[in-house]
């Protein structure tokens, strides 16, 4: 994949230029992608302020989780939006993917670079702004170590979400028909990881710490940023494990994508 880096960069630049040709449309889409974050956080704050705390976490501390999760989701979707089931389904049904396979680049590199979606930069920025606001409210004293933990959380969670998208795309190559089921992990996972993990039952917690490790990638580093002790079974040092675990999950996603392509038969005409 690496030997075609120049090609991918040019493809990505072309797709960004293409969307920039309609600046008003692009602006509306970008603002909207960020506005969702602001609205969701505002609503949750209205609710949490009434209750005072959840699972021993103050509202600002919970909002930090929301910020990290949304930033990671934005980052993953800038590159991976086109891997969502309905879009892969369209690539297959229109025969576009047949052409992709004949090109001398990697299919994944081509698909990702050709459909970079800058509107999700809006979600990333809104998420990052949420992190800054929340840590300020929670009285976090930033240190290089804590900044590194926050960056690690975003990078690992984004890698996991991208992995989820790859699995969903691989699945869509086989079913052709788009399925809403991937949204459970994509948006549902983000939603779940936006609350402290101790509020969930042990089964749900196990799945989202060790199987689809979004909880491991967001909640555990956030403990370190906030200077909190984790619940039994989730000590803060696990944060350093999230990088290899996220990498492993991403690799699994890559395998699923390849398996999907092996079963790809096109839809003919």
């Amino acid at each position: 994949m690496a030997e075609h880096l120049g090609v991918y960069l040019r493809l990505a630049a072309a797709s960004v230029r293409a969307t920039a040709r309609r600046p008003a449309y692009l602006a509306a889409r970008t603002v909207s992608a960020g506005l969702i974050v602001a609205i969701e956080v505002a609503g949750v704050l209205l609710m949490l302020d009434r209750f005072g705390s959840i699972g021993g976490w103050r509202p600002a501390e919970v909002v930090l989780l929301f910020g990290l999760a949304f930033t990671a989701q934005g980052l993953a979707l800038v590159f991976g939006d086109t891997l969502e089931a309905d879009k892969v389904s369209q690539l297959v049904r229109r025969g576009t993917f047949d052409q992709v396979l004949t090109r001398p680049t990697s299919p994944l590199g081509w698909v990702v670079a050709s459909y970079v979606d800058t509107r999700f930069v809006g979600r990333m920025l809104a998420g990052a702004a949420t992190v800054v606001w929340a840590t300020d409210r929670a009285g976090v004293a930033w240190t290089p170590g804590r900044a590194l933990l926050a960056a690690l959380a975003v990078a690992c969670a984004a890698a996991i979400i991208f992995g989820v998208l790859l699995v969903a795309a691989g699945f869509t190559f086989v079913t052709v028909q788009a399925s809403e089921a991937a949204n459970v992990l994509l948006y549902g996972g983000q939603y779940l990881a936006s609350y402290p993990m101790q509020i969930y039952g042990s089964a749900l917690r196990f799945v989202f710490v060790w199987v689809v490790p979004l909880g491991l990638a967001i909640y555990v580093p956030a403990l370190g940023v906030l200077g909190r002790q984790g619940p039994p079974g989730l000590p803060g040092w696990l944060a350093w494990l999230s990088a290899p675990v996220a990498a492993a999950f991403l690799a699994l996603g890559g395998l699923a994508w390849r398996a999907g392509i092996r079963h790809y038969v096109g839809t003919g005409s």
């Binding site: 509306a28 506005l35 209205l46 809403e180």
Partner: protein
């Protein structure tokens, strides 16, 4: 009347045939419902009542929300706007009988299928395992059903108005994308509107967003009278608005192409 009923049945059948989408939708609703349930259980651990809601009210809100999600934000949201932009909508104006009623009948057929196959099973399972506050009498349940159907009607009427933007601009999507997050919050899909600050809540209570989700929730948890009356009033107002838009738009409709 018989023609509209046939359209309603056709809409019902069409939506019912998407089996895979149904399974995926039920999974999504179940997952979000479980997470939201865990959130409310944790929130109410040290409190009995907040903003007039107790844990049973909150859980009822959660599962009615999951049940009505695909009714209010119907996956076919943009069909009308796309038909207007492509020019196919002209066919609707040429067909016999009233176009607004025809569109409503077909749409309602589809949402009734969602109500029957997604909303009812979701609520039935939830009420078996969780302390929900659903009406205990047949009459009460029937009223809840009526309220949900009214939610589906208002949903169609609002979607019709948003889709009609395509009569005036091909950029209807950017417009809606900026409005959507606000509608999402104010209709109560992020948190119950009961948690809003007083003035905002008073404002929202008088908006056509209340019939979509909060009215059915109130029918189940509080009193049915005011909630259903509000829904009926909004159906009437949006009916007039829809007719007005359709009359104005069909006079200025220009079909491109050849």
């Amino acid at each position: 009347m018989r023609a509209y009923l046939a359209l309603l049945a056709a809409g019902f059948q069409r939506q019912t045939s998407y089996r895979l989408a149904l399974a995926a939708g039920l999974t999504t609703n179940a997952f979000f419902g479980v997470v939201r349930t865990a959130v409310f259980f944790a929130l109410y651990r040290e409190r009995d009542q907040v903003a007039g809601l107790d844990v049973a009210d909150a859980l009822t809100y959660v599962w009615i929300l999951e049940g009505l999600f695909a009714v209010v934000w119907a996956p076919w949201f943009w069909e009308l706007a796309e038909a207007i932009r492509s020019g196919e909508f002209v066919v609707e104006l040429l067909r016999p009988r009233d176009p607004y009623l025809r569109l409503l009948a077909f749409d309602l057929g589809r949402t009734l299928s969602v109500l029957a196959l997604r909303t009812v099973p979701t609520l039935a399972v939830a009420t078996l395992v969780l302390p929900l506050r659903l009406p205990g009498t047949v009459g009460g349940l029937a009223l809840l059903g009526v309220s949900m159907v009214l939610a589906a009607v208002v949903s169609f009427q609002l979607r019709f108005l948003f889709g009609s933007a395509a009569f005036w601009t091909p950029d209807y999507r950017s417009l809606f994308m900026l409005v959507f997050p606000v509608l999402w919050l104010l209709s109560g899909f992020v948190v119950p509107v009961d948690f809003f600050p007083g003035p905002l809540r008073a404002l929202v209570d008088w908006s056509p967003l209340i019939p979509l989700l909060m009215a059915p929730v109130r029918v189940a948890t509080a009193g049915a009278g005011v909630a259903v009356a509000t829904q009926v009033a909004w159906v009437a107002v949006l009916w007039l608005a829809g007719r007005l838009v359709l009359a104005t738009a069909s006079r200025r409709l220009v079909v491109h192409g050849g």
